[in-house]
């Protein structure tokens, strides 16, 4: 048995310290150690994006991040997206446009959308498709998701 590492990082604005095996997946640390179960596991191998979170402002798949590499990082999960208990505009648009059905892909989709709109506040359809290409959805057929993203970008402009 190898030892545990004490890892300090900021999650949704709160300073946290966890003791965990250093290669424990950030995904599992969030869900098991910090009870932040909004982040979902789909494939566990980087293909589906349902575990996506923002780490230091960049979209990453938390199933491929060993927690030791999150030392000192600023992490944002789906729980940190809403503002004062109210849905963020991106979330509201997914809700209104039917961009979520079973909801497993949705937390990752929302964070990928955040990352996308940060880079391209007015994305083209092609940029939306590229930005979300790593997020798989088995339910919606994607069209409503693209529409939700487009709506969110329009609201951002107001």
């Amino acid at each position: 048995m190898a030892g545990l590492a004490a890892v300090r990082f900021r999650v949704n604005g709160v300073e946290r310290t966890v003791e965990a095996p250093p290669v424990k997946r950030l995904l599992d640390v969030l869900r098991e150690d910090l009870q932040l179960t909004g982040t979902k596991e789909g494939c566990g191998e980087g293909e589906c994006g349902s575990c996506a979170v923002l780490m230091n402002g960049e979209l990453v798949n938390s199933c491929l991040v060993p927690v030791l590499q999150a030392e000192g990082a600023v992490v944002c999960t789906i729980e940190g997206v809403s503002v004062d208990g109210r849905l963020a505009p991106v979330q509201q648009c997914f809700l209104e446009e039917g961009g979520a059905q079973c909801g497993i892909c949705t937390p990752g989709m929302i964070l990928a959308t955040h990352h996308l709109l940060e880079k391209y506040p007015q994305p083209t359809l092609l940029q939306i498709q590229e930005g979300l290409a790593g997020n798989l959805c088995r339910c919606t057929g994607y069209m409503r998701i693209f529409e939700a993203v487009r709506q969110a970008s329009e609201r951002g402009r107001d």
Binding site: A5, V60, A133
Partner: protein, 286 residues
């Protein structure tokens, strides 16, 4: 079988020198992890042989893109997103920027590194054909010092590289001499964004007086390592781009491609695609 993380150790020494000292102390014991997009998948699937890892992801010394008059140097810890954001790479090494944009999803590009891509040494990896076309050099570092190797001598065999167990890839060096060259790069896969290539080809050429003055052609997934296609280059150098030249290049390519048969494609299909890509590249030079 899913592996148990408690069975693995990982350390993250503060500086590059500390990491190199650790590697020198017991060569081969610690496996470096950069973005982890290969190693974490292997670990999760219970396919990782090593139990001891050293994180190099935080090392600022390895994440940079620097330029001087003659060279662009890219630190091994540079992510594909970093590569895509770089103005000098976009302007002068478009094939590499394009390859970076194929390397999995945005989330994958935010973590995966150039160093990890070449050390992992998949014959299908996306950056090697571009690096071969630009005649890149690779700098390897250890407590013994730095050595520089032409990148085309880096891959020795299937998943075997020239890297010694106490070494890290420090950086990739690109000569800034390609103004006026025409570039071509294309990956044929099952879908564009994040599929492993069936065949990928990078081409780079300079024309003079209607003839091919210089040419580089490099391919992924055609052999057990990424390769320069020297016979195909020889078939076009000094020639005009005519139907005969194109035909000669196709024949040379089919002959020198020794593709693998695997679950993704047959060898015959791959060789045929490679021939088509060479033709498309040469027509670009007209």
């Amino acid at each position: 079988m899913r592996s148990n993380p408690a069975h693995y150790e990982m350390v993250a020494p503060a500086t590059l020198d500390d990491v190199l000292a650790l590697l020198a102390h017991a060569p081969g014991v610690h496996t470096p992890m950069a973005g982890g997009t290969e190693l974490m998948v292997a670990l999760g699937a219970g396919r990782l042989a090593t139990r001891r890892l050293v994180s190099i992801n935080h090392l600022r010394e390895l994440r940079f893109i620097s330029t001087d008059d003659g060279l662009v140097t890219i630190g091994s810890g540079t992510t594909f997103s970093d590569v895509r954001r770089s103005a000098v790479i976009a302007a002068e090494f478009g094939l590499l920027a394009e390859a970076a944009s194929w390397t999995g999803s945005v989330a994958n590009q935010n973590r995966g590194t150039l160093g990890g891509n070449i050390v992992n040494a998949s014959p299908a990896a996306d950056s090697p054909p571009a690096l071969l076309a630009y005649d890149a050099e690779v700098r390897l570092v250890s407590v013994r010092g730095m050595r520089t190797l032409p990148y085309r001598e880096f891959h020795l065999g299937y998943k075997k590289t020239a890297l010694e167990p106490d070494e890290l890839v420090h950086s990739i060096v690109l000569p800034r001499v390609y103004a006026g060259w025409v570039g071509y790069i294309r990956k044929v896969g099952t879908r564009n964004a994040q599929a492993i290539s069936k065949v990928a080809l990078a081409g780079l050429a300079r024309m003079e007086g209607g003839r091919v003055r210089d040419v580089r052609i490099a391919a992924a997934s055609l052999r057990e390592i990424p390769v320069r296609c020297l016979a195909t280059e020889a078939a076009v150098i000094g020639r005009e781009i005519t139907a005969e030249t194109i035909q000669a290049a196709r024949v040379a390519m089919m002959r020198e491609a020794r593709p693998i048969d695997d679950i993704r494609s047959s060898a015959k299909y791959r060789a045929a695609v490679a021939g088509n890509l060479v033709e498309e590249f040469l027509r670009r030079l007209l």
